[in-house]
Amino acid sequence: MTPQAIMNLLSIYPEVIMTMFGLILVVLDVMTKNEKKSMVGYFGIAFLVITVLIAWPPVGKKFLGFGNMVMWDSYSFVFFFIFAIAYSLTTLGSVSYLKENGILKGEFYTIMFFSVVGMMFMVSAYDLTVFYAGMETMAISMYILAGFNKKCARSSEAGIKYFIIGAFSSGIFLYGLTFVYGATGSMNYLEIAAALKGGAASTTTFKFGLVLMLAGFAFKISAVPFHMWAPDVYQGAPTPSAGFMTVAPKAAAMGALIRFCWIALEPVGNMLALFFGILAVITMTYGNLVALAQNNVKRMLAYSAIAHAGFMLMGLVSMNPEGYQSVALYAIIYAFMNIGAFTLLGVVKNKGMIDDERLESFAGLSKTNPMYALGMLIFMFSLAGIPPLAGFIGKFQVIMATMKAELYWLAIIGGLNSALACYYYMRVTIYMYFKEPEYEVDATVSRSAFITSFIGAVMVILIGFFPTFFVNLVKTLLV
């Protein structure tokens, strides 16, 4: 083999391995009995662990193959690791929920597995062709996951809404992309950057295309004013898929966006900083303000996901290495705390006539189920960013990165927003600890859900108490 062929293979081998494992999962799905479909998910976790070990990155090395189209480096690896965490936690936490709703099917895990492959391609793309293929692999899987509960009208509604809006935003993205292609003459990030340096940046064609492309991106990360789909989809989707959808696709879109901005749009970086700064501010503020008014905890977490997307955007604005390190760290922490919170949310069953996820369901849970209440307390405090827990470390790192980029106004607004967010997270804990129960509520945590939330809570506490280790780990990987 020529060195070029070896380089090509090295640049996509984790994705190739993942695809092969995904196909094996399809076969395993056929072979397992109906009541044991969770085995498919567990095999998926095992395959992910194997792939993570095989793909362990040689730090500092970069494999760029297929005519500069795909890159495998430690940056791609870190994001792959985030998706692996999200997949594993969601799988563990989903079994009992899916079983109770009669939708424990192997497809759930297979589709989620393939969506991880799409996300990997998104983050490791160095070319808009690869990026688009990866993004659609992820998005189409997500439409299915959102509408997975076929018998439930709300789930179908969520699936259809996600599908229409997702396809609509891809259309806008693609339309913008054609103009960027027309102005720069290439789809390759490196060649786009070269063309922009050569003067293509000032053409109207390019600016028009870029605006549409960024609008498409903003849809994917549910940034305000392109967020309308997010609360409905997260509320309607089955709780485990909602947990997965708030974490993994968002991390993937952020990772791909950072790479795109960092490499392809590097010559026009100053222009972007203000755009993303404003987007981050309105996203955070709007997400937090509307979350204040929610009485449904699932919908509240959906709005909080919008606010967290705004926080991650802040890391992008700073356009320095600290910025994207902080985004990666934030995504890891967010994966642990949000999937943990969604797992616990999926456990609650209200025997009264109101929705399971209403705030009233949580009243007095500390007396009937103290362990459950404690777990939820940890996740809520962490999401709010209360100091000794991991959520604080994430927000702190992002704000530090903005300070380093001398964007003090943004850092101040970020700080104010995290204070604002405390209110609605605290409301859940207040209901759990200080209110008398109004309805008969069953919150028995099954074994797999317990393991998930336990891992989540332990990681949240560990990252919170020993931040230096984790911050340095991310820093060494993302030099």
């Binding site: 808009l128 009208a153 229409i164 609509f168 259309g171 027309g182 409905d232």
Partner: protein, 100 residues
């Protein structure tokens, strides 16, 4: 003589029709067809730019867009069918139970 501008205007019109269709029409199937129109506008644009720039990338991209559109059609129609089985309607206003 057809120039690049002609193609761009044509694709712009088709894109606008598609976008208006998604936003205005309430039948899910019609909305879905409008989405396909948007993607077709993208394809015209890509072909035009590809010819203008004398580069193959655009034409290869069209194949990607078409493949993805087909996959999307499969999933989208399946979702519409599950919706119809649940509610006996495919009117976007009637299925909208969650506010927002």
């Amino acid at each position: 003589m057809l120039t690049l501008a002609h193609y761009l205007v044509l694709s712009c019109i088709i894109f606008a029709i598609g976008m208006a269709g998604v936003l205005v029409r309430r039948n899910l199937i019609v909305m879905f067809m409008s989405l396909e129109l948007m993607l077709n506008a993208v394809n015209i644009n890509l072909a035009a730019f590809s010819n203008y720039l004398q580069s193959m990338t655009g034409q290869i991209y069209i194949v990607f867009v078409m493949a993805v559109a087909a996959a999307e059609a499969a999933v989208g129609l399946a979702l519409i069918i599950t919706m119809f089985r649940n509610k006996q309607t495919i009117n976007a206003d009637e299925i909208n139970t969650m506010r927002g």
